[in-house]
């Protein structure tokens, strides 16, 4: 019981939000939707905060706009489109997947794949290449001569000992 209470208190700290009580909608369901939409919209002044978190003037304006559109009966996606039409995709904290953002979404995976390919290539080359760089391998003639010398040498060696 005590443990449950502690986890509830510690594990669920109420994040500090910038939404003022006077901005909130009377209908808790609409307000909940407003909060969800606001979390996905970037405050253009502070850039890495959502308008739900930001105390900037512009963020407050956008929060009010979101709530106005909700009260007017717009759907969530209609409201997001309404804001994007004016401020561009940049206002979305999660950029959409489309032509202009392909590099953004696929870039990391492509770079990762290129890295893996480079590593694979490196190891394959190292295994395949016994000859160190800069050394010319023996020609067939030379190899034959070397073998002959070795055979002869072994014989002489044996005699001495």
């Amino acid at each position: 019981m005590t443990l449950a209470l502690i986890t509830l208190v510690i594990g669920n700290p109420a994040p500090a939000h910038a939404v003022n009580p006077d901005e909130m909608l009377a209908d808790p369901l609409l307000e909940l939707r407003a909060r969800e939409i606001s979390k996905g919209l970037r405050c253009l002044v502070c850039q890495n905060q959502s308008i739900d978190d930001s105390d900037a003037d512009l963020a407050k304006d956008l929060r009010v706009v979101v709530r106005e559109r909700l009260t007017a009966g717009d759907s969530d996606s209609e409201i997001i489109d309404y804001v994007v039409a004016r401020y561009g995709d940049f206002v979305l904290l999660k950029p959409p997947f489309k032509g202009a953002t392909l590099v953004l979404w696929l870039g990391p995976a492509l770079i990762g794949a290129a890295g893996l390919a480079a590593i694979a290539l490196f190891f394959r080359r190292r295994r395949g290449a016994v000859t160190p760089v800069g050394v010319t391998p023996l020609s067939d003639d030379e190899r034959a001569r070397l073998n002959k010398l070795l055979e002869d040498g072994e014989g002489t060696n044996g005699d001495r000992t």
Partner: protein, 171 residues
């Protein structure tokens, strides 16, 4: 050879990435018609304000300014100069300002605007995608937004960015 190629790619990447100002967000409204809006004049100020209908028929410049904005003060002489050249109509969008402050500011720094509209609650600014002041837009004769400049205009901006585009759009 490969390390050199990697270095080349990274060099280009950083040369582009590090010289771009992340604070400047490209406008979503380029080549789009100006938003529908109608602004009253500043309370106690001159004129009748302006709206979307005024931005057709001639090349226009819409300058978003406020008396509380310091860079606006710096660029204002150039805005006056541009208005004096009579190459475009120059409208002032007075963003989230107190009427008394705005009127005093204009009296002090000069008011060559074709007309000034008061956007007290910033709603017109929202429709224009304004996220700070000053911002300046160029609108073509058909009432389409062709360029947005974020931050104060410098003399170089005026000469190299504004005047050539205005001249081209005036043809």
């Amino acid at each position: 050879m490969l390390p050199l190629a990697v270095f080349g790619v990274l060099a280009i990447y950083f040369a582009v990435g590090l010289t771009r100002d992340p604070k400047i967000i490209p406008s979503a409204l380029i080549d789009k018609p100006v938003p529908e809006f109608k602004l009253p004049p500043i309370v106690g100020g001159r004129g009748d304000g302006f709206g979307a209908a005024d931005l057709r028929g001639d090349v226009s410049v819409v300058n978003v300014f406020a008396s509380w904005c310091v860079p606006c003060r710096a660029e204002h002489p150039l805005i006056n100069e541009l208005a004096d050249m009579k190459v475009a109509r120059v409208y002032g969008l007075n963003y989230k300002d107190q009427p008394a402050d705005a009127n005093r500011w204009l009296a002090q720094l000069g008011d060559n605007y074709t007309a000034v509209g008061a956007d007290v609650d910033g709603r017109a600014g929202f429709h224009w995608g304004v996220y700070g002041v000053p911002e300046t837009f160029i609108v073509d004769k058909a009432g389409r937004i062709r360029m947005k400049h974020v931050g104060p205009i410098t003399r170089d901006d005026l000469r190299e960015k504004f005047l050539p585009l205005i001249k081209e759009l005036a043809k």
